[in-house]
Symmetry: C2
Subunit: 105 residues, 2 copies
């Protein structure tokens, strides 16, 4: 309960912060993997060639930009893509980035 | 003639380079101003609170990412938004960024 980290209201997040989160290819890959999975994923299940502490940083940046919601299930930190909220606040942005990611990294 | 700087084939530009160009708010503003004008604009006509050399750098980054085409008319360096080419290579991206820029910087 107390371990759930803070999450912003997506409607209060600036485009600048979202772009700074998504300009990083590892973070874009996390978002793409979540979208492709169509379900919440534990931090340890992502395909990422970075250290655990670097991965934790990337998840934090995404969380603070409103892109993902993090919560615990037992000892696993789970990640949910806040797709509907992002699509409402920034129409077309994730579509444009995720489609391209799939077609051309 | 020989003064026309090199321009990339937009279909060869990576999303990563386009995002690195557009993550900068000044560069996003240049793109937004070009889109709003609906015509090519000389470098000196943009509303930008940066030095001339910084502005020149920003235009260069946009040009190298395939976002704008630069050419001379007399001593004026003109800038054209490569909107159709970008829309074909990165569908929805400029729409997502320009719409948001207008609604919420």
């Amino acid at each position: 309960m107390g371990r759930t980290p803070p999450h912003p209201d997506v409607s209060q997040v600036e485009l600048q912060q979202v772009l700074e989160a998504l300009v990083d290819p590892v973070r874009r890959s996390i978002v793409t993997q979540l979208d492709a999975a169509g379900r919440d994923l534990a931090c340890g299940t992502f395909d990422m060639a970075v250290s655990k502490s670097t991965a934790t940083h990337h998840f934090k940046v995404l969380r603070e930009a409103g892109l993902i919601r993090q919560y615990y299930v037992g000892t696993s930190r789970m990640n949910a893509l806040r797709r509907a909220e992002m699509d409402e606040a920034f129409p077309g942005l994730l579509d444009a980035l995720i489609v391209r990611q799939a077609a051309r990294l």
